[in-house]
């Protein structure tokens, strides 16, 4: 501190002032003043300067008394001053022609208030030193209660004094009200903190810190601070935070001492005494009077400073004690009830929660008016945006509807044209006209290409299915069966309503294509399968059956069992069972794996339902006629007993094509494939391989295996 002060003085002062520094330290302030001023030549009134010089020690002396802990450097100086000047020199008693305390005119010294003869270098030096090093000293002047009127009376008329303001320290805030903030760019120029300001700062900080929904913490504090003072912003953000830091440090220290003493409160002591004790201890430990007692009174009850009850005698141990005694008999009850239950400190509302509540419009936390209006504005803006979006959506909807209507009209027109007989048009010519019509209606479909594509395809299909006579009914049943076999069984049965000719066609279909895609309720699918099978012409063999579960494979067992029973008793040759939805592990009925007519069997699902693969019997499958076997996502596992090897296909003597897709074979050490007719074996994207894969296939032509390591013994 002292080094900085002297350095500043040395640099700013002229040659004379540099010499003056040490001399002033020993008390020759009177002599030092002129020597500092000597740098400036030709000053007018020697008396005036002397007076100023006389007064010069006033500032440091005054401040030093107030803040001894902070200005040790000045203490020495003041001691010197006092000795040189006399301790009876009160700050209020200015010499009669004392112009003005120099720090009251920090920027005006050089131009008007202090003419050149004042020796600006010397004056500035002192001023700068005092101000730069100890900005916090300033408000103490106010607190000292110096009389403004008295001071004013000493101001000489000759000096240019601000007419609108007095020379008193209280008037200081009004002294340069018109001055923009930029003229106080450094900390040196900061205004002294008044008591009211400190209190306001405390209140603002507490309010904001206890408002969990606070955003931009310090900005809110600033806003609240100036609102309390009813002033426009005149301090920088940095000044506020720095002041708060300084205050906070001291208040925390004081509060700590206070809490410590309160926790060990001796009996018979009242609060005043305790506070005295705290003050004295603070002075002892921190080395000075605690200056912020009023501020401390404000903040002491907020959760940050409030005393935390000690856990040793806390509620937890006490509560266990109590439960124990209450369970026992009456003996200790009265004794226990003497203890006062201290509620644990309440936790403040979380920030996120509070903000959410604020957004939901049910904020229980107090917010400033400014925030309210801000939120209102925001809400209005959002409302407006939502309304606009809603309107846009409606417009889009209407446009889509309009487009749809246009399409429908065009579609109808084309359809009516296509279906009415045009005897004068033949074959391709008719097609050409139809296509032209379609093209015309296509023009309005540019906007929604995808939908237009679908509709165009449908229209195309409509144009293609037009016949001039009932050709299809006159075709042999074989062709109709073939056509129906590519349709869903449900649709095939519905064709019985077309005409009398169609009523029984479906019953003799050799292909059954059962699909639960159109059945919303799974029990309806079960009923459908049973009805369809029972209504079928039982004299006709079933050549191919396909059961697909495109929806959830509920009632899988039931359906598969009845289909398999029916198909196997009607000499089925091709059976396909597929499911595409993950369900509980499926159980394939034992009956499925024994059929003497079956030539092609497919059990498949999609790859992405790992772990749901159904397990199959591990004893040899009885398919003497089987030629093609496709298994996908099957788990070869015996849950009942452990067996080291498995030989599933030993009875499939006619097996030619075998595909194992994504199957897990790892539950057996040895996996045997023994098929004399096997010519194609494909193991694609295997899930797990067994340790040994034995294969007896003398007629094997093509072998495809996945990338896993595999050991194959070819015999």
């Amino acid at each position: 501190m002292s080094g900085r002060g002297s350095r500043g003085r040395a640099s700013k002062g002229g040659g004379g002032s540099r010499g003056a520094g040490p001399s002033r330290g020993v008390g020759g302030s009177r002599g030092a003043g002129p020597s500092g001023g000597a740098g400036g030549s030709g000053f007018g009134g020697g008396s005036g300067f002397a007076d100023y010089a006389n007064h010069e020690p006033y500032i440091p002396q005054f401040d030093a008394q107030q803040q001894p802990a902070f200005i040790p450097h000045y203490d020495e100086q003041n001691a010197g001053y006092r000795t040189g000047y006399g301790t009876g020199y009160a700050p209020n008693f200015y010499p009669p022609n004392f112009p003005y305390p120099p720090n009251f005119f920090p920027t005006q010294i050089s131009n008007t208030a202090f003419p050149t003869h004042y020796g600006t270098s010397g004056v500035n030096t002192d001023y700068n030193r005092g101000k730069m090093a100890y900005p916090d000293l300033v408000p103490r002047e106010t607190a000292s209660g110096s009389d403004s009127s008295e001071t004013h009376s000493y101001v000489p008329e000759t000096q240019r004094l601000p007419t609108e303001g007095s020379a008193s320290p209280e008037a200081e805030p009004d002294l340069f009200p018109e001055k923009p903030k930029q003229t106080f760019p450094t900390r040196a120029a900061a205004k002294k903190w008044t008591h009211e300001e400190e209190v306001a700062l405390c209140h603002s900080w507490i309010n904001e810190s206890e408002n969990p929904a606070s955003v931009k913490f310090w900005r809110s504090i600033e806003r609240s601070f100036y609102t309390r003072l009813e002033a426009t912003p005149y301090r920088t953000h940095h000044q506020l935070t720095a002041k708060w830091r300084a205050m906070n440090k001291k208040i925390m220290a004081f509060n700590g001492i206070y809490n410590q003493i309160m926790n060990n409160r001796p009996s018979g002591q009242n609060d005043v005494n305790l506070l005295k004790k705290v003050r004295s201890q603070y002075q002892m430990t921190e080395g000075g009077v605690f200056p912020f007692e009023e501020c401390w009174e404000i903040v002491r009850h907020s959760p940050k400073w409030a005393a935390v009850p000690l856990m040793s005698g806390g509620s937890s141990s006490r509560s266990t004690k109590r439960t124990r005694t209450s369970g026992s008999s009456d003996g200790h009850f009265g004794q226990e009830s003497d203890e006062v239950e201290v509620p644990p400190p309440k936790r403040p509302v979380g920030r996120g929660k509070a903000k959410k509540a604020l957004r939901g419009g049910q904020s229980s936390t107090p917010t400033t008016d400014l925030y309210d209006s801000w939120d209102r504005n925001l809400a209005e803006k959002m409302d407006y945006k939502m309304q606009k979006l809603e309107l846009d959506r409606k417009i889009a909807e209407l446009e889509e509807k309009k487009l749809q209507l246009q399409l429908d009209a065009a579609f109808e027109e084309a359809w009516v044209f296509c279906k009415t007989p045009h005897d004068h048009l033949e074959g391709l010519e008719l097609q050409a006209v139809c296509f032209k019509r379609k093209a015309r209606s296509n023009r309005s479909k540019i906007e929604s290409k995808h939908r237009a594509g679908i509709i165009a395809k449908q229209m195309d299909n409509r144009a293609r299915i037009i016949t001039k006579e009932d050709r299809i009914s006159n075709l042999p049943d074989d062709i109709i069966h073939c056509i129906l076999s590519f349709l869903d069984m449900k649709y095939a049965i519905q064709t019985s309503a077309l005409s009398k000719r169609w009523k029984h066609i479906w019953t003799s279909m050799p292909h059954l294509n059962l699909n639960n895609r159109t059945f919303l309720a799974s029990h309806k699918f079960v009923k459908f399968v049973n009805e369809a099978l029972s209504h079928r012409n039982h004299g006709i063999e079933v050549s191919a059956v396909q059961v697909s579960f495109k929806r959830a494979a509920l009632h899988f067992d039931e359906v598969v069992t009845s289909v398999v029973n029916y198909a196997y008793s009607h000499n089925v040759r091709k059976l396909t069972i597929e499911w595409f939805w993950p369900t509980d592990p499926l159980k394939l009925p034992q009956r499925l794996f024994s059929c003497h007519t079956l030539k092609h069997l497919t059990l498949t699902t999609n790859d992405n339902i790992d772990g749901y693969g159904p397990s199959v019997p591990t004893s040899a499958w009885d398919f003497p006629a089987l030629e093609t076997l496709y298994l996908s996502n099957i788990k070869f596992v015996d849950y009942i007993e452990y067996r080291s090897s498995i030989d599933l296909f030993s009875k499939c003597v006619n097996l030619k094509d075998l595909t194992l897709h994504h199957c897990s074979m790892c539950f057996f050490d040895t996996f045997n494939v023994c098929a004399p007719q096997l010519s194609n074996l494909a193991i694609t994207t295997p899930f797990r391989y067994p340790k040994v894969f034995n294969m007896v296939a003398p007629k094997l032509k093509s072998l495809t295996v996945g990338v896993f390591a595999i050991r194959i013994k070819q015999i």
Binding site: R462, I465, I472, I479, F486, A497, L498
Partner: protein
């Protein structure tokens, strides 16, 4: 060995020539060739000349086996009107060409599957020889499928 040529005759007495090794894709023709060796003309009383031309075109295709499926699909797609397809299916049935018949029937099924029964009946000109009551009775009988 010189390539033998067979002659097919449509129902309107038009003659089409086709090499024997291509013609035997038809099981019917194969059986006929087996039976009586070199019969000069094979009559096809239920196939008209346009359809027979298509069948000949199909039989004359020069495709590798793996592209065959795609070719059949494309073949029926290009002639994807139901009257043609039905004739083609009829011819394929008579000549016993399974692939062609399946493809044609599949295409027909594909075309009609998106339409309601009424639309199909209208488009295919199937005469509804039932009274509304009878039709309702049918629908009730099979109500589990409607």
């Amino acid at each position: 060995m010189s390539k033998k040529t067979l002659t097919l005759m449509s129902k309107d007495k038009q003659l089409f020539n086709i090499e024997e090794h291509l013609a035997v894709q038809s099981v019917t023709i194969r059986n006929m060739v087996k039976e009586d060796g070199a019969s000069s003309v094979i009559p096809l009383p239920r196939v008209d000349s346009e359809t027979l031309a298509l069948v000949i075109e199909y039989l004359n295709r020069q495709q590798a086996p793996e592209e065959d499926e795609d070719y059949v699909k494309k073949f029926v797609d290009e002639r994807g009107e139901i009257p043609t397809l039905l004739e083609l299916a009829q011819a394929a049935l008579d000549l016993d060409i399974k692939k062609l018949m399946d493809a044609a029937c599949m295409k027909v099924a594909d075309l009609i599957k998106d339409f309601t029964l009424e639309e199909v009946r209208e488009a295919l000109r199937i005469e509804n020889d039932r009274t509304p009551e009878e039709e309702k009775a049918i629908r009730d009988e099979f109500q589990w499928a409607f």
